[in-house]
């Protein structure tokens, strides 16, 4: 019985301490606090922390406070907190939700402050996706798109065309050891997008109409199906963790993945990266989706001017060099590449020239689920591409009409 009592007392004390000791940080008297939320992990996070530390040390009036938020909770947290005035002043996120957030007045345009001196820093491809309805909503930090990873123990020169890629992959496919020449998440439209655009298809035309049900799109779906069923060079099913595992175990000669993949590879793995090959059927380079990761400003920030100062600092050359060399980020600040120490970043930089920014309209968010279903049905289910794409197109149009109602 005595034992019990101690446990109760200990728990009660712990609880009381927790409640009373809720740390309420007093804002520093003179400094304006700019709160920055991000979902960075690993090296990227270290680099950002380093940059912010330098900022705080060199700015007397502004104090940047960082908060890392799990990616899964990030959008929810933003959309709940900002309208209540409890959110950050600025936050870092990929550009694809800008349209939605702009429409719901979660973020605010920064055109007022962004003069040409600031805007000229960035590579133009990374800027365009940050514009919604002619207004600029953020400054680009980095861009992310997929490239070709290959195992250097198996492959010396990466393939230049898809025909070469298929031939090479056949060589390294072995059903007995369950090794495959090419491993990527083929049922994920984001990963498929490289072929999709390489075959000349686009999700929306210039007027914003959905253009999934086209021969080009069907050809790209057919291509993905062939990789699995006709050539048999990709695994029967593939998930993101399987891609990582197979590449780490040397059971995948080539992998299509993005810059984040590098953090998952085991130490000592002899691998290289290369731009994605040219699609032989169209003679067009495969163009993956490009996500422009930007620092965006909350519409409810009370220190917008100071926040903008931080935004410009985070994206200037010095900070970009740190983010690139420490954080291994393909940064959007053009001048930073002069101080590049990591040759792989160069490949991402090259791939940027052949990439398509993910549409940032709210309509794009309605595309993902139906097109993924279609892709699954075609590649794993063996359905004819045209039929599935027509179905997906119809459903997306219906949902867009409903959202506008």
């Amino acid at each position: 019985m005595k034992m019990h009592r101690w446990i109760w007392i200990a728990t009660a004390t712990l609880v009381a301490l927790g409640i009373v000791g809720v740390p309420r940080l007093m804002a520093q008297a003179e400094k304006t606090q700019v709160v920055l939320w991000h979902a960075y992990r690993g090296d990227e996070r270290k680099a950002l922390e380093q940059v912010v530390e330098t900022f705080n040390a060199s700015h007397a009036r502004i104090d940047v406070k960082l908060l890392a938020v799990p990616f899964d909770a990030f959008p929810d947290k933003i959309t709940n907190a900002i309208p209540q005035g409890k959110g950050p002043d600025i936050f870092i996120f990929a550009h694809d939700r800008i349209g939605n957030w702009a429409e719901s007045k979660v973020i605010t345009p920064i055109d007022f402050w962004a003069d040409d001196d600031v805007l000229e820093r960035f590579m133009p491809q990374t800027m365009k996706p940050l514009t919604y309805r002619r207004k600029l909503y953020g400054l680009p930090m980095a861009f992310k798109s997929t490239v070709l990873f290959y195992n250097k123990d198996l492959i010396q020169t990466p393939p230049k065309t898809t025909d070469e890629m298929i031939a090479l992959a056949k060589k390294f496919t072995n059903k007995e050891t369950k090794s495959y020449g090419l491993v990527y998440e083929f049922a994920n439209f984001y990963m498929h997008a490289a072929w999709f655009h390489g075959f000349g298809a686009r999700v929306f035309d210039s007027d914003g109409n959905v253009t999934l049900n086209t021969p080009a799109a069907a050809a790209s779906f057919q291509f993905a199906q062939d990789l699995r069923n006709k050539y048999g060079i990709v695994p029967q099913e593939s998930t993101s963790v399987l891609v990582t595992s197979l590449f780490n175990e040397g059971k995948a000669a080539m992998v299509i993945n993005g810059p984040w993949f590098r953090a998952e590879l085991k130490e000592g793995l002899n691998y290289g990266v290369a731009p994605l090959p040219v699609v032989s059927a169209t003679n067009q380079p495969a163009r993956p989706f490009m996500g422009s990761e930007a620092v965006l400003m909350s519409a409810k920030s009370e220190h917008q001017e100071e926040a903008f100062t931080v935004m410009t600092y985070l994206t200037d050359v010095d900070a970009a060099v740190v983010r690139m060399n420490v954080g291994k980020q393909p940064v959007a600040t053009a001048a930073a590449y002069a101080s590049m120490t990591d040759p792989m970043i160069k490949v991402f930089r090259e791939q940027l020239e052949n990439s398509v920014p993910m549409p940032n309209t709210p309509q794009m968010l309605l595309v993902w689920s139906p097109v993924t279903n279609a892709l699954n049905a075609v590649v794993t289910g063996g359905s004819p591409p045209a039929r599935e794409l027509a179905k997906a197109q119809e459903e997306i149009e219906k949902n867009i009409a409903a959202a506008r109602r």
């Binding site: 429409e103 309805r133 699954n376």
Partner: protein, 660 residues
């Protein structure tokens, strides 16, 4: 069952009808208050906005006629603005600015304010110009939706408004729809009558409530009816008179402003004629006519046409203006409308409480009799009401709205009808199909959870068996691990080529199965995962529940020579019921709404066929961004579960005690 002694003498009960009547009266009063509160709020705001719009329009129209590239033109514009401030009382701030352009970038700018990046004050102006231009663009983009606007360029936007200040902006339009700049105006609206109504109504309501309570001993029904009728008649007259007065007052304000604005405009025209490049209008007062024009040609049409307009929060007099601002349709004023609503809600709650407890019984008496019971449940109930029911009601409310990005539009039952009237039951994502999958999912899961859990508990309750604590502890591990990782492991185990499941089947000589490409395969994968995750919970519950069965009952049965199965059916099962039933009912509810496993293991594959209702609702909310639809889905889920529980409860009487 009550061990508390009942009081022998009870106070005389008031007649039910008197209590009822007083409540009805109070409710009527509250309703009227709310109604007028909402209406008066809308009217006052609309009047103030329209008033400000007329002013802004007059200035913008005048300004648009000057060639501002000359210095004399600039000065002239300044004069117009200055005279507007003096001749239109209530105009606290007026300025003209070139929208969305910075000084550095322009060849010529309108007179008034030019923007400077370093000036924080200018940020707001810039935003306003931006907002206005944006709204205009939207209307142009969606021309089909707002045909009015094509005909009428005199659109004016309300940027901010509350009872103290209305802030409007009118575009300065060149050519067809070229926005050259804006006129921004701040106006302090004239006070609008309406406050007295609330006062009178409150006094009357209070008086009648008192009267009704006094009538408690007034037996003849006639007098009650008489009093009630008088009250309603009085309220009716009051409402009529007040509405009439308010409308007349508002109309007066507008006519007055219209006239003043016309004078201002005329003065500007007269002085402007001397300027070079001044575009003289074809006829006088054309802007006012345009403002006032309506389908019926009424002079000040907004008031009468209200019934035909849906966007109640905007002035409707300027064609297209009511649609101009994509603000939330919910935005009706009414701080005091809400207050009134609160009163009504409180009264309703009181009334319902009376209904529930039996109309004739006085609440006080009930409390006196059962205070200790209420004291016991109060903390839990209050917590649940505040933190669970409050949010719950809010979420229910959303079901009647459709969400267009961040604004909500009331659509009534449309969401429900759309969901329920689609009978293509073989298609994926169809409601009835999904419901079928959900029911199957729930039934199989819970049966397996309970039978495995109970079976293991029966084995583990044996105190003579060795190592039971070890088994028990190892068996709850699936429950203890985070779902996210176990779902991943299971998904991996069901992989066609690399998964352990196919490997195992291979040992039995079965060809590799492609689990996630067929409905049954994916369903099985989900099911196996969830059974694995869920049985430990039922095992723990059963272990606890089994302890409630007195051991001597088994001993007695042994004496009677009962077999194992006999004992299980005759003793264990019936006596487990009270302790196990709540867990089963809740297990069903949870499994019905088990989002994680479906989402993480099959993710609905193939083609959303393995989705259950809750994942479908999630997709509507977070993939298709239609919260109203998602809410409607959730409501339906709720209704299904509620009727299920209600019926089960009727049959099993699990709200009753075992010793009834």
């Amino acid at each position: 069952m009550d061990s508390q002694p009942r009081e022998e003498t009870r106070p005389a009960r008031p007649p039910a009808s008197a209590v009822g009547l007083s409540i009805v009266i109070a409710l009527c009063g509250g309703m009227l208050l709310v109604l007028f509160g909402v209406l008066a709020g809308i009217w006052a705001r609309d009047a103030a906005r329209l008033d400000a719009m007329i002013r802004a329009r007059a200035i913008a129209d005048a300004v648009s006629r000057a060639d501002d590239s000359t210095e004399s033109g600039e000065n002239w514009i300044r004069d117009v603005i200055d005279s507007a401030k003096t001749s239109l009382p209530g105009t606290t701030e007026a300025l003209v600015l070139e929208g969305r352009t910075f000084v550095a970038h322009t060849d010529h700018a309108l007179a008034g304010t030019r923007l400077d990046r370093k000036n924080v004050e200018h940020k707001r102006l810039y935003d306003d110009a931006d907002e206005l231009a944006d709204q205009l663009e939207r209307n142009i983009d969606e021309r089909k939706k707002y045909p009015d606007l094509e005909k009428n360029p005199y659109a004016t936007a309300v940027l901010e408004s509350d009872e103290h200040e209305v802030y409007v902006a009118a575009p300065i339009i060149e050519g067809k729809m070229d926005v050259r700049g804006i006129v921004a105006l701040k106006v302090t609206p004239a006070p609008v009558k309406g406050g007295q109504f609330a006062l009178w109504m409150s006094i009357a309501t209070a008086a009648f409530i008192v009267a009704a309570w006094l009538m408690v001993r007034m037996e003849p029904r006639v007098s009650q009816v008489l009093v009630g009728t008088m009250f309603i008649a009085f309220a009716g007259v009051l409402v009529f008179q007040q509405v009439h007065e308010a409308s007349a007052g508002l109309q007066g304000v507008l006519t007055n402003t219209g006239e003043r604005s016309r004078v201002l405009w005329q003065g500007a025209m007269d002085s402007g004629k001397a300027l070079a490049g001044f575009r003289t209008p074809a006829s006088t007062g054309e802007f006012l006519e345009a403002i006032n024009q309506s389908e019926h040609g009424d002079p000040v049409p907004w008031f009468e046409r209200r019934g035909e307009r849906t966007g109640a929060s905007m002035g409707g007099g300027i064609p297209g203006a009511s649609e101009l601002r994509p603000g939330p349709a919910l935005e009706v004023d009414g701080r005091w409308a809400w207050r009134g609503l609160g009163v009504v809600a409180a009264l309703m709650a009181l009334y319902l409480l009376l209904l529930v407890t039996g109309r004739t019984r006085k609440i006080a008496e009930v409390f006196r009799e059962h205070w200790y019971a209420y004291a016991y449940v109060a903390p839990a109930v209050i917590g649940a009401v505040v933190l669970v029911f409050g949010p719950f009601l809010f979420a229910i409310g959303l079901a009647f709205y459709t969400r267009v990005y961040n604004t909500y539009e009331f659509v009534g039952l449309k969401n429900f009808i759309e969901i329920l009237s689609n009978f293509k039951v073989l298609e994926s994502r169809n409601f009835y199909r999904t419901l079928g999958v959900t029911v199957m999912w729930t039934v199989i899961n819970v049966s397996l959870h309970v039978s495995i859990g109970l079976g293991l508990a029966m084995l583990l309750k044996d105190k003579t068996l060795k190592f039971t604590p070890v088994y028990r502890t190892l068996l709850i591990v699936p429950w203890a691990l985070p779902n996210y990782i176990t779902a991943l492991i299971w998904k991996g185990m069901f992989n066609k080529e690399y998964g352990a499941v196919n490997e195992f089947l291979g040992l039995l000589g079965i060809e590799p199965v492609s689990w996630f490409t067929t409905f049954w395969g994916a369903f099985t994968a989900n099911l196996v995962t969830n059974v694995w995750l869920g049985f430990p919970f039922m095992m723990v519950i059963s272990l606890g529940a089994l302890q409630s069965i007195p051991a001597d009952l088994y001993e007695a049965a042994d004496v009677d020579g009962a077999g194992r199965w006999d004992k299980f059916v005759r003793i264990t099962l019936p006596l487990l019921k009270p302790a196990l039933f709540p867990a089963i009912i809740l297990g069903i509810i949870w499994t019905f709404n088990n989002f994680n496993i479906i989402y993480l293991v099959s993710a609905g594959a193939p083609d959303n066929k393995t989705d259950i209702l809750i994942t479908e609702a999630y997709r509507w909310a977070f993939e298709k961004y239609q919260y109203g639809y998602a809410s409607a889905y959730s409501m339906i889920i709720f209704l299904i579960l509620f009727s299920y529980t209600y019926v089960t409860n009727r049959i099993t009487k699990s709200t009753e005690g075992a010793y009834e």
